[in-house]
């Protein structure tokens, strides 16, 4: 496990993470500053950003001092110069999940944050274009949420009446 960069905000919980050199569990307030300090520390690329809905596992195992919420945003950062990976898991909230957008740090998160918004309804504050990306603009609900049924919604056509 590698140490956090010295510029990281104080009090960020870290833990061993499978197939990554470091796992971080910042709060929503620490999230942006932590990723910024990691970027300045040589993590040039944000390879992946996705949401997870832990509705069925609200009491999951997390390191001490990390209160789990229903939604989690998982960010995988990569350092090409050091050949290291860092996984950042931020607890995004229960009812109205929202975290700050990483767009100003990594412009490449634009599509990934839109996808997380589209499929989970996680809002990213400061994102320039917070629209759906995979689903049609008038779609109701966020399909990858655990309370969204699988295969029980008829295919929506523009002309047809909606399911609800």
């Amino acid at each position: 496990m590698i140490p956090l960069p010295p510029t990281a905000p104080p009090g960020v919980v870290t833990a061993e993470s499978l197939a990554a050199d470091l796992g971080c569990f910042p709060t929503r307030e620490q999230y942006y500053e932590l990723v910024k300090s990691l970027k300045d520390d040589g993590f040039e690329m944000c390879v992946d950003l996705c949401g997870v809905d832990y509705l069925e596992h609200l009491e999951r195992a997390l390191p001490d001092g990390v209160p789990g919420t229903r939604f989690e945003v998982v960010v995988n950062l990569l350092s090409l110069s050091k050949r290291q990976r860092v996984r950042v898991r931020v607890q995004a909230g229960d009812e109205n999940p929202e975290v700050r957008s990483l767009f100003s740090l990594y412009p490449g998160t634009e599509a990934m944050e839109r996808e997380a918004f589209d499929l989970f309804g996680v809002l990213f504050g400061g994102h320039p274009d917070m629209t759906r990306i995979l689903m049609p603009e008038d779609w109701e609900g966020h399909p990858l949420r655990k309370d969204y049924a699988v295969g029980k919604v008829p295919v929506q056509f523009k002309e047809a009446p909606g399911p609800r």
Partner: protein
């Protein structure tokens, strides 16, 4: 009968409304805020504060001076159902935006109701030109959670199949890229050579396209008798013919005119956008996960990482052409050094008992039945594993809750991220260059939309 002109107007308006994707599409400049406008004109590295260069005269361009046109979603040069919206000044592209989702089938959601054994049939359909890559990424993630050791023969079979798949994927790219540029003989040649590889896949896995061959714990079947000869023929043929493609395309003036110096991207921009694969290597960044973060047995074989200089279309072409040769080189080494032994792990946790045991043992039968109905249980945890697919870093983020199905299956699709380079690469080019931009990014829409 009423006035025919009126009827035409009545029919047109609802049609235009039906194809609109609302705010997902390219909006007029008046309706686009600063950062988003900057993104659409490709100002990737000037995002913070957005101080556009005064030379970017079109920043102040009025809406009535430009035209927004649609390309796709059903356009032959968009390689699937990609919709491009371009803002044009005459024939030059000022802004562009990709509209995706036309092939979205909810594969990540489907992955949550399929067991780990069935998961392969799902992920293999994402990047339909490199099914082995998808299966490999998924299987490696499951194996990391399971902590299962894969026998050496399975590792080398996987590596050989992955490289054969890289060859076939790049051959299709050569073919479709040739088609986009009007070199339609390349189209025929590319698909002809790919056919050899698909025939070998069929012989090995039983299927040509969506193989479901690489599975958690190993591969589905051992290599068929006489596989050495088939693989040798493939390597010899493709290598020899790659020099013919070289002769056909590389020096051809029309081809060069549309490739050399067109649609450049800088290394810093590629890194900021998270772009990987040949697109990143064309900018001169020697980043290939097979070399830099080796998985399987890539640290035991000799191969070169092909790197470009200028980040233009031609570099991307040269990288893919040479990667075909490098893959053939790896396949030859697999051929020589293929270890003997089992093609899947003998761990009873994931592998059913041998067929002969089922006839004589009730426990073996029950075990077999349980594995294929309920599936095996994977310890709770989360993992991100990445491999180098023909298009870049293919990552699989897997969350398990200890059950026999993934709690969350997320695939980091390289094409999805690479497509974000479109506005940057199209900026200032002509509409005809837009075709080559999409072509050399090589997006697979099945993977973009999942």
């Amino acid at each position: 009968m009423s006035d025919p002109t009126v009827r035409v107007a009545e029919r047109l308006e609802p049609l235009a409304a039906e194809t609109s994707e609302g705010p997902q599409g390219l909006q007029s400049r008046a309706a686009t805020a600063g950062e988003e406008l900057g993104r659409e004109v490709g100002a990737v590295l000037r995002q913070s504060g957005l101080k556009l260069d005064p030379k970017d005269v079109d920043y102040e361009r009025r809406d009535d001076e430009t035209m927004i046109i649609n390309m796709g979603p059903a356009h032959p040069a968009t390689h699937g159902v990609l919709r491009l919206m371009l803002e044009l000044d005459g024939e030059f592209v000022l802004r562009s935006k990709t509209v995706i989702g036309y092939l979205h089938t909810g594969m990540e959601k489907t992955g949550e109701v399929l067991s780990y054994l069935q998961g392969g049939t799902n992920v293999t359909r994402m990047d339909y030109l490199s099914p082995i890559g998808n299966e490999l990424g998924f299987s490696l993630a499951v194996e990391k959670l399971l902590d299962v050791e894969v026998p050496p023969r399975a590792v080398w079979i996987r590596m050989m199949m992955a490289e054969l798949n890289r060859m076939s994927s790049h051959l299709v790219w050569m073919a479709t890229n040739g088609m986009d540029l009007g070199a339609s003989s390349m189209m025929i040649y590319g698909f002809r050579e790919r056919e050899l590889i698909l025939a070998f896949f069929e012989k090995t896995a039983g299927l040509r396209l969506n193989l479901n061959y690489v599975r958690p714990g190993g591969v589905a079947a051992d290599l068929p008798d006489g596989w050495e000869d088939d693989v040798l023929v493939i390597c010899d043929t493709v290598e020899e013919r790659s020099y013919e493609y070289d002769e056909l395309l590389t020096g051809q003036p029309i081809f060069r005119g549309r490739m050399v110096g067109v649609a450049p991207i800088a290394a810093e921009e590629a890194l900021a956008l998270g772009v990987t694969g040949p697109l990143l290597r064309s900018t001169g960044v020697p980043w290939d996960l097979r070399r830099t973060m080796p998985y399987l047995a890539y640290d035991q074989v000799d191969f070169d990482v092909i790197v470009g200089t200028y980040g233009d279309n031609f570099d991307r072409y040269a990288i893919r052409l040479n990667e075909i040769r490098e893959s053939a080189r790896i396949v030859r080494q697999c051929l020589e050094r293929m270890p003997s032994g089992d093609y899947r792990t003998l761990d009873p946790k994931v592998t059913p008992p041998p067929r002969a045991r089922i006839d004589e043992s009730m426990e073996a039968l029950i075990h077999h039945f349980k594995l294929f109905t309920e599936g095996f249980h994977v310890p709770a945890g989360e993992v991100y594993s990445a491999i180098e697919s023909p298009r870049g870093e293919l990552g699989c983020y897997l969350v398990s809750d200890g059950g026999s199905k993934p709690y969350r299956l997320h695939v980091r699709a390289p094409s999805f991220v690479n497509l974000q380079a479109v506005p940057l690469m199209m900026r200032g080019g002509m509409v005809s260059d837009a075709i080559t931009v999409v072509s050399t990014i090589d997006p697979i829409l099945g993977e973009v939309d999942r």
